[in-house]
């Protein structure tokens, strides 16, 4: 397909339409449910699968090389900050994996740069970026320059 939508689970909420990077999840006008309009441009990225609140979207491997009878299911839990995978092989073997997706609650750890003190004139004229030089080495060391590293650019030399 590669993604497909179960008729009885989809409620047409459009979360998949909103998130698909390839613009291929659309709402069918007759059934008012989502479906993949262009399987040959699907990357099996699972963005829509993870976004679906009804777990209505699944993936069937690409027909040109993937036989039927397998599944790779996913549950992404933003509150717990985890993602859980269940892989079922064609022969019945099952593997389960659980990974963290973030170490901080969403929406809390990233500062608004509009609220932090602005750069000094000196910083503007230097090669430093926001948070530097401290953010580079997390100590008082400065930014690397050609001089500090004892380097120069030599034209047309190969070695």
């Amino acid at each position: 397909m590669p993604t497909f939508v179960y008729m009885t689970r989809c409620d047409g909420c459009g979360h998949c339409v909103d998130i698909c990077p390839s613009d291929i999840m659309h709402i069918d006008k007759t059934y008012r449910r989502a479906y993949n309009i262009e399987p040959s441009m699907c990357w099996e990225c699972y963005s829509c699968v993870k976004a679906c609140p009804q777990h209505a979207i699944d993936v069937r491997g690409y027909a040109d090389f993937a036989p039927l009878g397998h599944s790779v299911r996913v549950h992404r839990d933003e509150e717990k900050g985890t993602i859980a995978w269940r892989i079922k092989f064609r022969n019945g073997t099952e593997k389960n994996f659980l990974s963290p997706i973030t170490t901080k609650p969403w929406g809390t750890a990233i500062p608004k740069l509009a609220d932090v003190p602005g750069p000094s004139r000196e910083m503007r004229d230097s090669q430093l970026l926001y948070g530097e030089p401290k953010d580079i080495r997390l100590d008082d060391g400065g930014l690397h320059t050609l001089q500090s590293a004892g380097l120069k650019l030599k034209k047309g030399v190969y070695y």
Binding site: D18, F89, L113
Partner: protein, 622 residues
């Protein structure tokens, strides 16, 4: 067909494309431009867009200067040898000296970075790679970008850059359309940071039919970075340096963690090590400077990525395929097995789907490897992109025109795949390039360089007509036939893409010709591309979604043309394993130890090619 026109005026920094490069630009721009209007125009949804949409299991560019692991110049030397000498070392040094600060920010923002329990340092996968749980990498950096931007426009396909009507060669914004509503969007901006994507799908993929979306690089990376910049007249560099990837067969699952962390290795169908036996002949082609396995062993200088591809390709051609990755030993360790699987789940789920569907458990069976179709991009083990200015404290005069990462068009900056000569930037380096471009863009505005920009209604209306032409064309001619897609008056975007891929594959060195081309083939390719451009005027789009595909195709076509011009210009085989010039099989350092630079005249469509000097970073006294 009436399409509403929506104008966003007074923008200071317009970020086109918000993958890792664009998000970095939007984030950093707010710090240097507290009072500036920062706007993002993104083709998909910024939360899951770009190459990192599905996640990433490793950050492939981290120096570790805090622990004394590497210095920026070490990374420059590594990228230089991997790209057979051809890189912009000023840009690389600049990226490398800032990239750690980006990664440290990511960790602060909540990106789970794995730690080595013994040392407390980030867990290394290889010398430059650290391991992460990166399923939500993109949503995390998107949150940072959203916090900095004034407005985020999702689902805008940017088709053209706007140019200043008052001053030649200065950017003035961008135009495009909303793929949901169909509205025409005009962004008038003092500066534009192009963070759009490189090119997948310009060469015929190995996959066919339904599976043709299973490319290594995202199918939505439609060469827009190049299409937009080339059309506007920006100089491009190293566009011949397309990349071919050695990956797990069919799924294109990553091999980096397997080689580096799991210590797996490859063998031919007879169970033999094959790589080293191709080295003597290969050394004849590329010279001892680029391939010296003994020195590599002593200095830990890596074998360039393209040359390792060459060995796989040669061994398979010799009839000793398939090439297998020996995983059975490593996967007996439950921890390593988990790493192997999560590596896919964190970034190439399709590979896990494939193994599940074919009952390949790498614990019991060594999986096959293959080489991919070629891609054109600027941030992996390849460095195509725009010819950009470097930083003022590093760059020599030929590489410097005032503003870091500014292209040869005033006010137009690049990040990620858009910047040429900076391979091995990967995700963290692309984000860092965005940050560098954003600081420079704000400086450009503060210096008064963007004053008095004029955008005429004529230009805006002309572009509008051009953008919607495929919809009009469809409407006019669809009833000339009974039904179906076969029409004497038009082709649809899928048909056009098929033609482009076949043409590039056969004439420009794709997978079905074993990456081989020559001057004759390239000239035929250019002729066919020119004729194809006439047919692109007759593209038909049934709806807004097809209109999106139509413009993606046009960007791909323009990038493909530039790639072919560059491949024709460089009369040597600089990167065996990425492509071969059958009529010039050797590396020719005497004539071609240079960077290639092209410019397409926006009026005439003619290309001008030139050689640019290659400066190497050396220690004082060397």
């Amino acid at each position: 067909m009436a399409h509403k026109t929506i104008v966003e005026d007074g923008i200071d920094v317009l970020v086109v494309g918000a993958g890792l490069g664009g998000t970095g630009a939007a984030w950093e721009a707010r710090f240097w431009g507290k009072d500036k209007k920062i706007v993002i125009a993104e083709k998909a949804n910024i939360d899951r867009s770009g190459a990192v949409a599905q996640g990433l299991y490793a950050i492939n560019c981290y120096m570790g200067t805090r622990w004394g692991e590497n210095k920026p110049e070490d990374h420059v030397r590594y990228a230089r040898i991997d790209l057979m000498g051809m890189v912009r070392e000023d840009l690389l040094f600049d990226m490398a000296r800032h990239v750690d600060s980006t990664v440290h920010q990511f960790e602060e923002w909540g990106l789970p970075i794995m730690k080595d329990p013994k040392t407390g340092r980030y867990l290394r996968e290889g010398r430059w790679q650290i391991m992460i749980h990166g399923e939500s990498y993109k949503p995390i950096v998107a949150e940072a970008a959203k916090k900095s931007a004034d407005k985020v426009f999702n689902r805008i396909c940017v088709t053209h850059l706007l140019m200043d009507d008052g001053k030649k060669n200065r950017v003035a914004g961008a135009v495009g359309f909303n793929v949901r509503t169909g509205d025409y969007h005009v962004f008038k901006a003092k500066t534009v940071i192009c963070g759009a994507g490189g090119a997948s799908n310009i060469f015929k993929p190995r996959s066919v039919g339904e599976g043709s979306g299973r490319t290594w690089y995202a199918p939505w990376s439609s060469a827009s970075a190049y299409g937009l910049m080339i059309d506007a007249g920006a100089k491009m560099t190293q566009m011949e340096n397309r990349i071919v990837l050695a990956r797990f067969k069919d799924g294109y699952g990553p091999v980096g963690a397997y080689f580096l962390h799991l210590k797996t290795y490859t063998q031919n169908c007879l169970g033999e090590e094959y790589e080293s036996k191709w080295f003597p002949a290969l050394q004849q082609m590329v010279g001892k400077e680029y391939l010296d396995p003994e020195a590599s062993h002593l200095t830990h200088r890596p074998i360039p990525t393209c040359l390792r591809n060459h060995c796989i390709i040669s061994e398979v051609n010799a009839g000793r395929g398939p090439i297998h990755m020996v995983t059975m030993r490593a996967f007996q360790d439950p921890h390593l097995e988990e790493v192997g699987w999560e590596n896919f789940l964190g970034m190439t789920i399709g590979q896990a789907v494939l193994w599940a569907s074919t009952d390949v458990d790498p614990k019991n069976e060594n999986p096959e490897l293959t080489t991919s179709e070629p891609y054109v991009m600027g941030s992996h083990a390849t460095g195509s992109g725009a010819w950009c200015s470097g930083p003022e404290d590093v760059s020599p005069p030929e590489y410097f025109w005032g503003y870091n990462r500014m292209t040869t068009i005033e006010g137009l900056f690049g990040a990620g795949d858009a910047v040429g000569g900076t391979p091995h930037a990967f995700s963290s380096g692309s984000f860092t390039e965005g940050r560098l471009a954003a600081k420079a863009a704000c400086k450009y505005i503060d210096d008064g360089k963007a004053e008095g920009i004029v955008v005429s209604d004529g230009q805006i209306n002309r572009r509008k007509k051009e953008i919607y032409k495929p919809l009009e064309h469809y409407k006019t001619y669809r009833n000339a036939i009974v039904a179906g897609d076969v029409n004497p008056h038009y082709i649809n975007p899928k048909q056009g893409l098929d033609r482009l891929q076949k043409l590039m594959d056969e004439y420009c060195g794709g997978v079905t010709v074993n990456y081989m081309t020559n001057e004759k083939l390239l000239n035929i390719g250019l002729k066919k591309l020119a004729i194809m451009e006439e047919d692109l005027e007759k593209l038909a789009a049934e709806d807004n979604h097809e209109l999106l595909r139509a413009w993606e195709l046009k960007h791909r076509h323009r990038a493909a043309e530039c790639v072919t011009q560059h491949t024709l210009f460089r009369k040597e085989t600089r990167w065996p394993g990425y492509y071969y010039r059958g009529d010039a099989m050797k590396v020719d350092d005497a004539n071609w130890h240079v960077l290639t630079v092209s410019r397409r005249d926006p009026e005439s469509g003619e290309y001008t090619m030139e050689k640019a000097p290659c400066y190497h970073l050396v220690a004082e006294g060397e």
